[in-house]
């Protein structure tokens, strides 16, 4: 369960404070694979960053006893001058992985970088970096994976692999994902949260949620 307590979040702008959420309280239930639905600018990404702890609300708090991943396949934490292996080790150390060597190998296997794993990331092609990032997060066993548009990772083959890994993982763990592709949401999720005008509504049945969302 993720508890959102009285959260207010705004971004300062020239036109004054732009409120995304005002005194929002909500409970995200356990044991569901949830798709977050909402039109552009409704605050999906903001909610996502708040959940992952990359940003903090201006007021209120978000409390959970689950281990949440960082946004899967987020490449910003990967240093271009370090090798894939060093980056993996860095991420593993920060997240408290017990056996770093095994983790390294696991990421290597999954990311399919071959020898390039031992070369600086700046020499990677544009598809390889997200692959490394994806492998780094999927190789750690979190309770909940936060996924922002999986489909952007790598080529068709790797995307398939990523999906399979996530589907396999979603049997023991849960995912919370943001996507504009309804097919993708249908594939991974069983319920939905619709985000509209700073309010969240939970739908136990995904189809019902999608209906509501499309009616907005």
């Amino acid at each position: 369960m993720i508890n959102i307590n009285d959260v207010t979040k705004y971004y300062p702008s020239k036109l004054g404070k732009q409120y995304i959420f005002k005194n929002l309280s909500f409970e995200i239930p356990n044991g569901h694979n949830i798709g977050i639905l909402g039109s552009n600018g409704a605050g999906k990404s903001t909610l996502f960053r708040l959940l992952s702890g990359s940003e903090y609300p201006n007021n209120g708090s978000i409390i959970t006893d689950l281990s949440l991943s960082w946004p899967v396949a987020l490449t910003t934490g990967i240093h271009p001058l370090m090798t894939g292996r060093e980056n993996t080790r860095f991420i593993g150390k920060i997240n408290g992985v017990a056996d770093l060597d095994a983790y390294e190998e696991r990421v290597k296997m999954f990311a399919e970088l071959g020898n390039k794993y031992n070369l600086p990331v700046k020499s990677y092609s544009s598809g390889m970096k997200p692959r490394l990032a994806f492998a780094c997060s999927i190789a750690i066993d979190f309770d909940v994976y936060l996924i922002d548009e999986v489909t952007s990772v790598g080529d068709a083959k790797f995307r398939r692999k990523a999906k399979e890994a996530l589907l396999e993982r979603s049997e023991t763990a849960n995912v919370i994902m943001v996507s504009h592709e309804m097919d993708e949401i249908r594939q991974f999720c069983d319920s939905a949260i619709v985000l509209h005008k700073g309010e969240l509504t939970f739908y136990n049945d995904l189809e019902q949620g999608i209906e509501q969302y499309q009616a907005l």
Partner: protein, 261 residues
């Protein structure tokens, strides 16, 4: 399966600081010279200035070799300015890493501080080797005072750097103020002179500056004959304590907003 250890707060801090420290060593200086430049550059700078100055005035300043006198001054002021700049910059540089909720700006500053201390330890070794070959008397009468002064100075630099780093996340132009402020420090902190060279009635223009206290006390810690007129460990320690407290308080209230910009 990858097993994630349940860690308490302190263990997370320790792991994150260690990881950032290792990352710093790996990427801090990424040209052909690598880390060695970070050591060679200050050693050469200190050597040239101290050696020339030693030649000019016959080799002794207030009972201590001018080389030692100058080397301590330059080493300390450089450590201060570089640690301050590094602490402030590292907060912005590591911004992408705050996507991992374990990483906080403060951990980056602490890792940066350790990195500076490591580099400066090598610089000190380099200078000691040079002094040995120049035949300058190597002695230290109060090593504990030397070490305390150095750590207090680094702590002061980290505290001020932390404040600037957070401020720069809100308003980037603070970095220009920081650069402007650090420039005169080279000339007012007793690097090239001693407080004893200045008539007593003008001391109050200079002795508010904790860096001056640190430098003069360190000279005294090496040669007790140098004396410690006008400076005190108490003043230095209080300054550092107050600055550290204020900067941590400010950090505590502002950091979440700062990285959510």
């Amino acid at each position: 399966m990858t097993i994630v250890i349940k860690r308490n707060k302190w263990e997370i801090w320790r792991d994150v600081i260690f990881a950032l420290f290792a990352r710093e060593i790996r990427t801090g200086f990424n040209d052909k010279f690598g880390l060695s430049w970070a050591v060679l550059n200050p050693v050469a700078f200190i050597f040239i200035l101290s050696f020339l100055r030693g030649r000019l005035d016959g080799g002794e300043t207030h009972t201590i070799p001018t080389f030692t006198f100058m080397a301590i001054g330059i080493l300390f002021i450089q450590s201060f300015i570089q640690t301050l700049g590094k602490s402030a910059r590292t907060i912005k540089q590591n911004k992408p890493l705050y996507a991992f909720r374990q990483v906080q700006p403060l951990s980056a500053v602490i890792a940066g501080g350790f990195f500076q201390i490591l580099i400066k330890a090598f610089v000190i070794i380099g200078i000691i080797i040079i002094m040995y070959f120049l035949g300058i008397d190597l002695q230290i009468s109060d090593p504990l005072l030397f070490i305390s002064c150095y750590f207090l100075l680094i702590l002061l630099a980290m505290g001020i750097g932390l404040v600037f780093g957070i401020a720069e996340l809100f308003v980037q132009e603070f970095s220009k103020i920081r650069e402007m402020m650090t420039r005169p420090l080279f000339f007012i902190s007793g690097v090239f002179f001693s407080l004893q060279d200045i008539p007593k009635e003008y001391w109050h223009y200079l002795n508010w500056n904790p860096i001056l206290h640190a430098i003069e006390l360190t000279r005294y810690s090496v040669y007790s004959t140098y004396g410690h007129q006008g400076v005190s460990v108490g003043y230095l320690a209080w300054c550092v304590l107050i600055f550290t407290f204020l900067s941590l308080a400010l950090y505590h209230t502002l950091w979440k907003q700062a990285i959510s910009q």
